[in-house]
Point group: C2
Chain length 466, copies 2
């Protein structure tokens, strides 16, 4: 019987899974019976972002946490598909930090070329999964949100590719209920224009806080204050930006910090991360994890330990993104088809333990990037995913982090070289700080929004002179 | 075997169901095996409101659509339990339009007295329901959100009491994605203080629009504009408040209306209603309905036509609230225990059709109030729920609607007489327009926030002189 594969979610990970099977089919492997379920009306996951927040048009939790004026916060050269380059998609070199719509266009380009859209049922949400130990089958109940009908499907293998940056983690803060201004989680943030002239407090010290804070600065916030739990981000912030330790309580519009300082604010954004949440799975099949580079219970970061018919893609914290989902999808595919034979449970457990031990000992972000490069190397070596120079990408990550430290408002104006094609990125026509139009059309065609195109930051000038 | 009853949701309807069974138990009827599942950490449903919006602490859709400074928008005398009066709870007369916390306290008082909390599993969300025709049993899968465990329970009867004012209906408007200010649905509105000095646009012409608009006026909004689809509300609005027909499109911060007018706004609130949504039910058991006074497919507004083991409480549009949920719960209870015998399907269908025909012919809001009074009469006559003067409540509804037409900012300062105890409400120490503290403590103990306690509106003065 043909293998029956269910894929939940058609974001970058689900698209990678579709592409993985299609790639094998092109090389002569028979295609399994694939059904992919996507609750939105288009694929792209996080990249398919709208103005909606909270609940979507069908009353389902909004998936995307992205927003207007979101530009990639890492070099595109670190996430490039090795089987579909930026050059192939755009037909010309582009800059290293494109906005959302440009990257969305890129990931759609590959799967459109692959003719895999036919496997996806859109507007269809996964509701409930049960595993029958005897028959070794999953029964998945899905609801067509457009027609309001529930159907059940039986699968031999199930891929969970719904991501883990969609369900906010929002701790309680004393007095927050009485804060008179806007209070929202980063997940519900859709644009910083309305913070112009406002005193903004962001609770958190990771990517969301950093980017939303600098968005607010770019849009003219009166002040930006970050509140950290463990340690400050410590970037060379623009003026009117400062870091405070954790909020202890709110009293009206005043936030009190645990170091005894306080401040008055107009709005609060909780940049306090996300939960792993899989409401369509029974608890015993749900990954419970912090956002870490190697979640426990997933062999090779992909295969569910207690039931190797279940696969998670993109379930770890991410330096790499699209290309990592690819490597994982190729690996998962080969496990499903038996091309890769899994070692016994205890051996798999030992392998996970080894990775987790190494993770626990990593001294810094540079080491983390190397760690994930090594992780990808293992997956790619085991499959026919086109290899690329992982050490070069590791070096790219380190350059990028260094640029951020030197110039938090200017690092996106840097250019990097593709490890897939060797193409050097072009300098974008507009500095990130001046770019007030994040559309694909403006990105590709201009005109520039720089008032003085010569006004590069010190770092930009220094590096572009190299 | 003892009857096994599952109750989903411990808001006012679920609490009414618990109370209905407890009331019968006190009169000697054996208690069924009851399990009630509530996803929040306390009961009260809508009344258990926090600062959270979108998704809650566990990543579940936030249930409550209430907000700071929400005062009852109808007289409390229209919703009073006939088996637990306001006098019994507060020990003294109170005003007719109490704030959220006061009404929450009232509904909790009754069930605390009844010792039914033991039946409720909090932090527990219903995930999936299946009906076995052969065994005539429901299997309900629930997830304990605190421990992350999934369990299954089998029931003979299932009560859906999750309400239908929690999942926003939010239509698309062209250009809304580019609106630079805040855009939210009424469900996510938590307080109007931040609209001080702002030009607010509310799309909708029902209770949410009216109340959030007047909240914004109270908190100092620069202007309040309502946009209606069918017809304006037509109240005697304060200055800087106006009504426009539907928005055709947004262009930046400008809204264009279908009559060719336009306006610039700082924030948009979609007061576009709610969806009936029951993600824990298969489509064939889910009520699909607009917000109407008599949804099709529910006999006596309660019993699911195709499976009379399934019950919905509070699924209709509501003039009556708490006391209607009671009457429905008493009725559902007596159907479950066999005390009330159901007529055959076709007869039930004819009964529903009769109500729906009558509904379709109602000329105005006054007639709607009478319609729902008659509906309650039928339920109460069929059960031992303590009867009360429904005609008097109908008259109360009409007075209230008249007061709103005369004085949209002052109707909450009116007082009404209880039909349960005959007690006349007291005038509140602070006019609604001046009340800037909606806490239970301030409500009960004062002091007044009126600057000039003699400054009653024309209507208030006229009516208080009666």
């Amino acid at each position: 019987m043909t293998l029956r594969v269910g894929i939940i979610g058609a974001g970058p990970s689900g698209m990678a899974a579709l592409r993985a099977f299609e790639s094998a089919r092109q090389k002569g492997t028979p295609m399994p019976d694939i059904m992919c379920f996507e609750k939105q009306n288009d694929w792209g996951g996080q990249w398919n972002s709208t103005w909606r927040m909270g609940l979507d048009v069908h009353g389902e939790p909004v998936h995307s946490s992205m927003y207007r004026h979101l530009w990639s916060n890492g070099p595109k050269e670190c996430l490039e598909f090795s089987d579909y380059s930026f050059d192939e998609h755009f037909g010309r070199p582009i800059s290293s930090f494109p906005p959302r719509e440009v990257l969305f266009d890129y990931i759609k380009g590959r799967v459109e070329k692959s003719d895999v859209r036919k496997y996806v049922q859109f507007n269809t949400v996964a509701r409930h999964t049960s595993w029958n130990e005897e028959s070794q089958e999953f029964t998945l109940s899905v609801e067509d949100l457009a027609t309001g009908t529930t159907t059940e499907h039986v699968f031999d293998k199930l891929i969970v590719s719904t991501g883990h940056f969609s369900f906010p983690n929002a701790p309680e803060f004393a007095g927050l209920g009485g804060f008179p201004g806007e209070v929202l989680h980063a997940h519900d943030f859709r644009g910083a224009e309305r913070f112009a002239g406002k005193r903004l407090l962001l609770i958190g010290a990771s990517y969301s806080a950093e980017d939303i804070g600098m968005q607010a600065h770019k849009m003219g916030a009166a002040s930006v204050t970050f509140s950290y739990r463990t340690s400050p981000m410590g970037f060379d912030w623009p003026k009117n930006t400062l870091e405070r330790p954790l909020v202890s309580r709110f009293d009206g519009s005043t936030a009190h910090f645990i170091d005894g300082t306080q401040g008055d604010f107009d709005a609060v954004v909780l940049c306090t991360g996300y939960q792993h949440k899989y409401p369509f799975l029974p608890a015993e099949l749900s990954l419970k994890s912090k956002n870490v580079l190697y979640p426990r219970n997933l062999y090779k970061g992909v295969v569910w330990q207690q039931n190797t018919n279940l696969f998670y893609l993109g379930a770890q914290d991410q330096y790499y993104t699209f290309n990592m989902f690819d490597a994982q999808a190729w690996f998962a595919r080969d496990v499903m088809t038996g091309k890769i034979e899994l070692p016994p449970l205890a051996e798999r457990e030992a392998d996970i333990a080894l990775w987790c031990e190494r993770l626990a000992a990593l001294p810094d972000h540079n080491a983390e990037a190397d760690f994930q490069s090594d992780y990808l190397r293992g997956l790619i070596d085991a499959t026919d995913y086109p290899p690329f120079d992982l050490d070069a990408v590791s070096a790219l990550f380190k350059d990028w982090m260094h640029h951020k430290e030197s110039d938090i408002l200017g690092y996106r104006d840097m250019v990097h070289r593709s490890v897939v094609t060797g193409t050097m990125a072009t300098r974008h026509h507009t500095r990130w700080l001046n770019a007030m139009d994040d559309s694909l059309a403006r990105y590709l065609n201009g005109p520039s929004q720089d008032v003085d195109t010569g006004s590069l930051t010190t770092l930009t000038r220094e590096l572009s002179a190299r």
